[in-house]
């Protein structure tokens, strides 16, 4: 059966979308969808409540049947943990007996006893699991993994579709659990950077499935992934923070530009702890927006829907503030091909040309795609429908709230580079560098990161490895330790290109060392000498002392570049464990895994 405007209550556009979707879904998906729609129809408030700031829900009566649900999250930046906690809160309201744990804390041998398992897990780098998920991931994929015939599960995968191995870890878990005999409660949902809506949909489906499966009442719940904190401000309702200070930390002659941004949180009620990040909703570059609009003769003033609630904005405003235009993804190009006759685009999207596709996507933006594969015969609405929502940018907070009440400081590396004949700019960083003056405001929210925390015992030694902008959270750590009079030893490794121009917060570190707040500071500058020196070389030079610190219970923190630095630092730590601790490589790796589990090896890498 084909839907038509005449035989359904849908608009032409909706009909088109449904006709594209319905013929391709499996029977299982159809079943799921019908349950999902039932749940939706009985909801008291809109299903997709991602944009709702404050929820006003009637209390739910306690069901008669109590059912256990375990939620495990594997989270690097804290997104996954945040979502998992909100899912837990929702299910508790439904009177489920919810256990929520980080995968790193979960004892795998209890897996056999579980009936309902929800996994929220992100993917990093080349399809890698987050550090905290690694032991559980390995257990499940190893020989000791048990049969799980009794288990019902669902996976919410988090990722970024501009990476090749989008949501791979989630997919791996999904596939492996099936292999082990477990039954899906609801299909896995892969979330891109704008995860609010798909996450909410996943939760709705999971809730329905759990209700049906446990035979309890069909719950009436508004489903939203929302912050539970006391402040009215959150990711979906960001606070307009005033810029107090905006300075370039790099001295003259540097190859880099790094902004130190001080923002006022006064009146926001926002609270953060060292290790947390700040999300900023940036604005796209207006020149790029105008180029895009004129490339397809679109009308800048034509209004388009900017979210599923049906809010509308002029196209130009939508492209400036609501949609991502600087990154290409495979899904974007696939959608684009519906509006383009371009043969080369169709060719590029064939499955055997993944490498070419990856090369094409790298360093190109929407304007490139529109130019390369035009003419594009899409309406203004269709144009934005192929785009992802403009994601917030997360920056590790560089200040301690205790030391700077009502303020938050950031260290933002400005991204500018040249590819494919055009100058490219980091959306948020260039906005901060070029357009933001004291007195301006930025929409911000606090992003918790429980995986990057000072030890609760203030006497525990800490080792901080943070070259480049990776220095940010350590400024927060040391400010906090200075403010609270913590007595634990601290050791910072910092590095960048040039000593004279790129030693971020140099005078502050000098004072901390003088005052004894920072016990030791080792620096490495890669371009001052013929041989490039990096932080890991400094670590090696002090391997004996470093090992002693680790033996004494130090917590190791790594922040900054993931691709090179974090890998090299990890390898160096393994070397030090072997060299100084007389461990075999295997023992050293085991030791590192143990450190992760004990939260003594924490990373905030990107």
């Amino acid at each position: 059966m084909t839907l038509q405007v005449t035989n359904s209550p849908f608009s032409e556009e909706q009909v088109e979308l449904l006709n594209r979707l319905l013929p391709n879904i499996t029977e299982a998906q159809q079943n799921w969808l019908s349950g999902y729609l039932t749940a939706v129809s009985t909801a008291t408030s809109p299903l997709i409540a991602a944009d709702v700031a404050v929820l006003d829900r009637p209390a739910v009566e306690a069901p008669t049947v109590v059912k256990e649900v375990t939620i495990l999250y594997g989270s690097q930046t804290g997104n996954g943990q945040g979502i998992a906690e909100q899912v837990a809160a929702k299910l508790k309201e439904q009177s489920f007996d919810v256990t929520i744990q980080s995968m790193s804390d979960f004892k795998p041998n209890t897996l056999k006893k579980l009936e309902h398992l929800l996994l929220v897990v992100s993917t990093h780098g080349e399809g890698d699991p987050p550090d905290t998920a690694l032991p559980f991931y390995e257990f499940l994929h190893g020989r000791r993994a048990p049969k799980l015939d009794h288990l019902h599960y669902s996976v919410l995968a988090l990722g970024d579709s501009s990476y090749e191995f989008f949501c791979k870890t989630g997919a791996d878990f999904d596939q492996r659990l099936t292999e082990l005999g477990a039954t899906p409660l609801a299909p896995r949902v892969d979330c891109d950077l704008d995860y609010d809506e798909p996450a909410a949909q996943w939760l709705a489906a999971v809730e329905v499935a759990l209700q049906i499966h446990t035979g309890g009442q069909t719950a009436t719940s508004s489903v939203a992934v929302e912050s539970t904190s006391s402040t009215p401000y959150s990711r979906t309702n960001p606070f307009q923070a005033e810029v107090l200070e905006n300075i370039n930390l790099n001295g003259r002659g540097s190859n880099k530009e790094t902004r130190h941004l001080e923002l006022s949180l006064e009146g926001s009620g926002l609270h953060y702890e060292p290790g947390d990040s700040l999300g900023i909703f940036p604005e796209n570059n207006s020149e790029l927006v105008d180029k895009i609009i004129s490339s397809g003769s679109w009308n800048a003033e034509e209004t388009v829907e900017i979210n599923s609630k049906g809010e509308r904005r002029a196209l130009r405003v939508a492209l400036l503030n609501h949609f991502e235009i600087t990154v290409l993804t495979k899904p974007l190009l696939e959608k684009l091909s519906n509006y383009s006759e371009s043969e080369s685009l169709k060719q590029l999207l064939t499955s055997d040309r993944a490498d070419e596709l990856r090369t094409y996507i790298e360093g190109r933006d929407l304007f490139d795609a529109l130019t390369d594969f035009g003419p594009v015969s899409a309406s203004e609405q269709q144009l934005v429908s192929i785009l992802r929502k403009l994601p917030a940018r997360l920056y590790s907070i560089a200040s301690s709230l205790q030391a700077n009440p009502d303020e938050v400081h950031l260290t933002i590396g400005v991204v500018r580079y040249e590819t494919h004949g055009r100058t490219r700019q980091g959306v948020c960083s260039v906005q901060c560098a070029e357009h933001l003056q004291p007195g301006d405001t930025l929409p911000v929210y606090v992003h918790k990161n429980e995986n990057f925390r000072l030890p609760s015992n203030s006497e525990t030694p800490i080792i901080m490895i943070g070259p480049g902008t990776g220095i940010a959270p350590f400024r927060s750590f040391i400010e906090e330790r200075s403010e609270t009079g913590a007595e634990g030893k601290s050791w910072l490794f910092f590095g960048d290109q040039h000593y004279v121009t790129d030693f971020y917060y140099q005078t502050e570190w000098q004072n901390y060392v003088k005052d004894g707040v920072l016990t030791r500071l080792d620096v490495a500058f890669s371009r001052d000498t013929e041989e490039k020196v990096y932080v890991q070389h400094r670590m090696k030079e002090s391997s004996q002392e470093l090992y002693q610190w680790i033996e004494d219970g130090a917590v190791i923190y790594v922040c900054g570049d993931e691709q090179n630095m974090a890998k090299d630092v990890h390898a160096t730590l393994l070397e030090i464990l072997q060299q100084e601790g007389g461990k075999s490589l295997e023992e050293a790796e085991q030791f590192m895994t143990q450190l992760i589990q004990e939260k003594r090896y924490q990373r905030d890498v990107y």
């Binding site: 300075i247 930390l249 004279v500 005078t507 000098q510 001052d528």
Partner: protein
């Protein structure tokens, strides 16, 4: 000075903090080995910087960037200046090439030829200092005692091969420099990875001349060969005037107690000319210099550093006291001063034939700065010359550069390079510019109160305009500018002198002697460029109309009553 009043310059208090630093330094070692390794700062602590000077270097920062960097949470843009000891300003072509290379590799890409005939490199970062000194050392260059409370680079008239006397005088300047060097092994240990020497506890064994606290202040020696007074022999602590009889060097007239430095607002400090005290045969000159230096070592003021120069030691006690003390220490007496005559202090530019038939070529180097600028590739040209030159390089006391001992075939090759890089244009600069001199000042010198090297060229252009209007286009007038009253460019000896007081503000002095024989007198205090030009214009016009034949500007302003003559440093401030 009456016998009842104790002269202010005589020590009347405990030793200054610098004396403490010297005593505790273990013969100039201090903590330099450790602090040069400290990687948290590109600087070193002040105490070590005091010692650093004895090693020919000190810590500076780019003052243009100070405020900006403070806001950026960066420490000042610390960098080291290093001054290379080159007695008589002598360097081989190979040494020139090494200096050029180091300037590019570790320095800011330029070289400064100093007013004391030394090389200065700026902008060396801490972790390059050791390599820099080691590579200098490989080329037989060092920076020992180029700064600090010791005998500094010994100057001498650089015109090589002008006569055999000049060559002999150069040898004496080298002897003086070597013999009066500190003997501590610290330099070798800190910079050249020399083995730590366990010093004897007896200062007389470690530093037989200096002792554990070295001198109270810097000490300067220069040798002039009349009729040229290019070394400004009267500005030296010990000024030696070569006496030539029948074409042979017989000895030196000895002048003592010259010095340019003073402090603004303290009239007890003043520039002074060295006074002649006698004549020594050449073979005794090192002994005489050593004994004079040791008198200063024993009697100089070690409590107040601004009163510590030799000139105050002498002025507070009288010249007779000094002569008696010297004769006593020598065990013999100096002869009567021999006749001599000085014509001028400037250099002779272009080609000059030497006594041996070879040639010298003197480049005009504005303010001693060797660098490449658009349209004037001096540094590159000199590098090219150094690669083929078989003679030597001589740095002049006027911050110029002499190519010495050029053979006739080489002269052709060098002429070709000079022509190709259009270097003659500099030599054809106005007489005013060729007789001008400025110290480094901002942005690197920590003492500077006003610009000097970066500003004087543009001021000269404006004064040139005044000279042209007055019809004095080719007149030689000695003009000098320093950014502070310490006197590196010897402004107090200029016919027109500027001494910095604050940003854009200078004291203007007139009436110095053209041949360096008379100090100047203050004419206007704390004035900016417009006032400088407004004040100079009528005086220059008068000079054009009223001067007598051959009368120098410095003499004219005194005869015309524009300023009173300064007859002695002690009446420098008397208007």
């Amino acid at each position: 000075m009456t016998s009842t009043t104790r002269p202010v310059h005589i020590q009347d208090g405990p030793p200054s903090d610098v004396e403490e630093i010297k005593i505790e330094s273990d013969y100039l070692r201090g903590n330099l080995i450790q602090t040069m390794k400290d990687s948290i700062s590109a600087g070193i602590p002040e105490d070590d910087n005091r010692l650093m000077k004895f090693h020919g270097s000190y810590l500076q920062d780019d003052r243009d960037l100070r405020t900006e960097r403070q806001r950026q949470k960066l420490e000042p843009a610390y960098q080291f200046m290093i001054r290379v000891r080159t007695p008589g300003g002598f360097a081989t072509p190979k040494q020139w090439l090494v200096m050029d290379e180091l300037a590019h590799k570790y320095g800011n890409g330029t070289l400064k030829l100093t007013t004391r005939q030394a090389f200065q490199m700026h902008g060396i970062l801490k972790w390059n200092m050791k390599k820099n000194i080691q590579e200098m050392n490989d080329a037989l260059l060092d920076s020992i005692a180029a700064c600090g409370d010791v005998n500094r680079n010994v100057m001498c008239s650089p015109n090589p091969n002008e006569s055999p006397v000049h060559e002999e005088v150069y040898e004496w300047s080298k002897r003086l420099s070597e013999d009066l060097l500190p003997r501590t092994n610290a330099y070798h240990e800190i910079w050249l990875d020399g083995e730590k020497v366990v010093d004897s506890t007896e200062a007389t064994e470690v530093e037989p001349i200096y002792g554990a606290t070295y001198l109270p202040r810097k000490f300067k020696i220069g040798i002039a060969v009349p009729p040229m007074n290019d070394v400004d022999v009267f500005s030296q602590d010990i000024g030696l005037i070569a006496i030539v009889e029948n074409g042979k060097l017989t000895g030196f007239n000895v002048a003592v107690g010259g010095g340019m430095g003073m402090a603004h607002g303290d009239e007890q400090t003043y520039p002074q000319l060295a006074r002649l005290i006698g004549y020594t045969p050449a073979d005794q000159v090192v002994e005489v210099a050593k004994q004079l230096m040791m008198i200063q070592r024993d009697h100089g003021n070690r409590s107040v550093r601004k009163y510590a120069r030799f000139k105050y030691t002498i002025d507070a006690r009288g010249l007779d006291w000094l002569i008696t003390e010297l004769h006593q220490r020598l065990g013999w007496e100096l002869d009567e001063v021999r006749p001599y005559h000085f014509d001028h202090t400037g250099d002779r530019y272009g080609w000059v034939e030497a006594s041996n038939g070879h040639w010298n070529y003197t480049f005009f180097v504005e303010n001693g700065r060797i660098r490449d600028t658009e349209g004037y590739q001096l540094m590159t040209a000199l590098r090219e010359i150094a690669e083929i030159h078989t003679g030597d390089f001589r740095l002049s006391p006027n911050q110029n550069l002499v190519l010495g001992d050029v053979t006739t075939p080489k002269k052709k090759e060098i002429e070709e390079i000079i022509a190709r890089y259009e270097l003659e244009s500099a030599t054809s600069q106005s007489a005013l510019r060729r007789n001008s001199m400025a110290c480094v000042a901002l942005p690197t010198c920590g003492l500077a109160m006003a610009e000097a090297e970066r500003y004087l060229p543009s001021l000269i252009t404006k004064i040139e305009g005044l000279l042209d209007e007055a019809g004095l286009g080719d007149e030689e007038i000695v003009t000098r500018m320093t950014g502070c009253p310490n006197g590196c460019a010897r402004s107090a000896l200029a016919e027109i002198g500027f001494i910095g007081k604050g940003p854009g503000k200078y004291n203007m002095y007139l009436g110095g002697g053209f041949a360096g024989e008379r100090l100047s007198k203050i004419y206007r205090e704390n004035i900016g460029e417009k006032e400088i030009l407004d004040e100079l214009q009528p005086i220059l016009n008068r000079y054009a109309k009223e001067r007598e034949t051959g009368e120098h500007f410095g003499d004219f302003v005194i005869r015309a009553g524009i300023v009173a003559a300064t007859t002695d440093g002690t009446n420098f401030h008397t208007v």
